[in-house]
Symmetry: C2
Subunit: 442 residues, 2 copies
């Protein structure tokens, strides 16, 4: 069927998220990834969790970064959601939607993107626009290609069991993005305006938000310096854009826990650097080490720091360790925000949840490989896991360290903490639990 | 006059470097930057330098990196200069040439560029091509925009007093670029093939090589990862390209020596990182600090490392210090290649020249701010200067450090070392002195 009416096409695009329930009943639409298992699974999950307390409030603990940005005096005009223009893809520009099983991380992209240009000489931020997904056309001297003047965020849109689509704490991503922009000599912006514009983008491509709880729509806001001059200096022109990619689980389901490669000769970040900002420069240099980890039969790198081999991050995730103190009480540790690690939003959420549960102490505190070894040897090491938006929570099973293979019994317990946290976070994200961290888009 | 014959246009393009002398005599061509002062200046220089010994041989000291690259087994096909295709810009695509006084660093670009694509799935490196200078067209998910999978080199083409155009030690740049590519998970290539292709590019745009000794044609080979997937992993597609920009002196002539901002809270690089590789990630994070330096009335950042405040680099240059030992003998120090600093080609050249002169000892050895302070106080600090391809040699005059203002008398001596080194290097580069480091293009 070829739709000939422009207005009808536009109507369908803009309202597809409202039409979806009806179309589903009629089974006329090929959805992006499987649908139907959600309610069944939801029921199962609720049964499993009955013994856990439910979370309804957030208790502030420590703000990882300022939530309101002070713009530099010379940043110029801000962009506004109300100025957003939309140019929809023509039917022939639409991309085929992938199978749910084929959803490798960040491999497929939706039909539209959001972009906002910044030119200091034109007065600052220009009007935001949603366009069909298309290539960027940049001068080969653009600073992003030479000096890594680039930063990004990782967010997700989740299709809830109620059909509503949600972001998770988007204000946190925007605050972190602004702090990172400032550190990178790039222009800052009003968080709320970008959240609204991204909400609109997701609704236009809402058919790409997977109809399953095992997948979601990954959102990649990106800010790059595009001034075409080779001086090592801040960029007077920038491009803020957002692309969307339906993603399955970052690590394959059913896979065993992570095996980590802890090689003290490599360092991810250091005091006085940018390890606590989400810039491209924190990622490029890790790829060589990640390849070495794979060659050594490990999944991810465990990044150590200092002569005492402090644990800092795992792959591109924050790290947590649950252990038993000498008095047999449990305690959860995660490294502090001392500039060496990324202030993760999943990390922050976990700290707040555990504080609220109040069942064990949780500390932002350095811990080292000798300490991990000792705890493992004494049977007091309970769980270790990585946390992040892409991977949510990933249990750790082994650490290859200085010729040893340290076993971590993360997945051997009844009701392990990592699973309880995973379930709580996904319950909030998929709308099974009413929570202020969930941001419903409409 | 409009040239209507395609063949004539092509002939002029390909042979403009041979036509130039003739056209100069007829004064019919507007040259990129002034011409005419070279021979006069050359004479003056020779007079000044009579007291210095002349260098004719290179004595190897310490190789900063392996000069031959071992390609990874899976890199695939290599590209060859003999496969180079050339698509010349049409007359209407030619850019106007800037005035010599307006040659800010990396602001203007020539009419053509060189590009070589790499696609693992297509078997490796594709055929190199010279095309008109044009924008890159890249997917917004290309890894270069997100994870700083990017690296570059800085080289120059110099128009000698004899009209010949020269590179300076291009094999060193290519070896460093390959070492950096390997560290970045990007494909390596045959150095000699790229040197030849860049030589051809420079000859096609040879009219852009300034006709003066105070300027040159900056060459920017760049390698970026362009695979459009968001996983933090090495890129199976890459683009190697080279753009050219006529440049004046990096620092304005006649300006006073550099004033440096030495703030121990910032660190450029650290052991286990990539401070010794020419990746974009070493530059982006410095821009914020450079802005802070400017706000504090300084020109450049003096990068310190460690609790003892070792000097590592200055801005984007290597650093040297000439001082008087307690026995009143002079000694030149520069930090060692311990992973914290870039293995500069100007740095290496200076070490070799001074070794050959044999007039004072030269050591690759750590030195600290307390040591600099002490030497300054005792009147034993003679000269400090930064070195690099863009800036050649830049004398340092002051260091703002921990609330103090340390004065360095670099420019107050008769026949200072920094000027003698500058003259020797530029004599080699501009062909006034026959030397194996000069690579004549034809």
């Amino acid at each position: 069927m070829v739709l000939r009416s422009k207005n009808l096409v536009r109507y369908v695009f803009q309202n597809q998220h409202k039409l979806i329930q009806q179309l589903l009943v009629q089974s006329q639409v090929r959805l992006c990834s499987g649908h139907g298992g959600i309610q069944q699974k939801a029921q199962l999950r609720l049964d499993e969790e009955d013994s856990f307390p439910k979370i309804t409030e957030v208790s502030p603990i420590a703000a990882p970064f300022p939530m309101t940005i002070e713009h530099a005096a010379d940043v110029g005009e801000q962009f506004k959601y109300s100025d957003l223009s939309v140019r929809l893809a023509a039917p022939h520009q639409l991309n085929p939607k992938p199978d749910v099983d084929d959803l490798a991380f960040g491999k497929y992209f939706t039909d539209h993107m959001l972009r906002v240009s910044y030119h200091r000489r034109l007065g600052g931020w220009q009007k935001p626009e949603i366009t069909p997904m298309e290539n960027l056309n940049l001068h080969p001297a653009a600073k992003v290609f030479h000096y890594a003047i680039e930063l990004f965020e990782g967010m997700k849109a989740y299709r809830g069991y109620d059909g509503k689509i949600r972001f998770f704490r988007p204000d946190m991503n925007m605050a972190r993005m602004n702090v990172t922009a400032y550190r990178s000599g790039l222009p800052t912006f009003e968080s709320e305006e970008l959240i609204k514009a991204m909400g609109r983008l997701v609704m236009i491509d809402s058919e790409w938000v997977p109809h399953t709880e095992s997948a979601s729509l990954y959102i990649r806001p990106t800010l790059i310096g595009i001034e075409p001059t080779l001086g090592v200096a801040s960029s007077d022109s920038a491009l803020l854009y957002t692309i969307l990619s339906p993603v399955g689980p970052y690590f394959k389901p059913g896979a065993s826990g992570l095996k980590l490669y802890a090689e003290p000769k490599y360092t991810r970040a250091w005091p006085g650097g940018v390890g606590d900002r989400k810039v491209g420069s924190n990622y490029g240099p890790t790829i060589h080490v990640q390849r070495e980890a794979l060659r050594n039969g490990c999944h991810q790198v465990l990044w150590l720091y200092g002569d005492d081999h402090q644990l800092t991050e795992v792959g591109v995730m924050n790290i947590f360790m649950l252990y038993m103190k000498e008095n047999r009480e449990r305690e959860l540790l995660t490294p502090p925000l001392d500039g060496l690690i990324l202030p993760g939003i999943t990390r922050d959420s976990i700290i707040r949840l555990c504080h609220q549960w109040g069942e064990f102490s949780i500390k932002e505190q350095k811990f080292t490989m000798p300490m991990v070894k000792k705890l493992a040897k004494e049977g007091r090491l309970l769980e270790m896991f990585g946390t992040g938006t892409a991977a949510v929570i990933s249990p750790i099973e082994r650490i290859a360290y200085m010729g040893e293979d340290i076993y971590v019994p993360t997945e051997t317990h009844d009701n392990p903490l990592f699973r309880r946290l995973y379930n709580t976070l996904t319950d909030i994200q998929y709308g099974k639990m009413d929570h202020p961290w969930a941001y419903v888009i409409d």
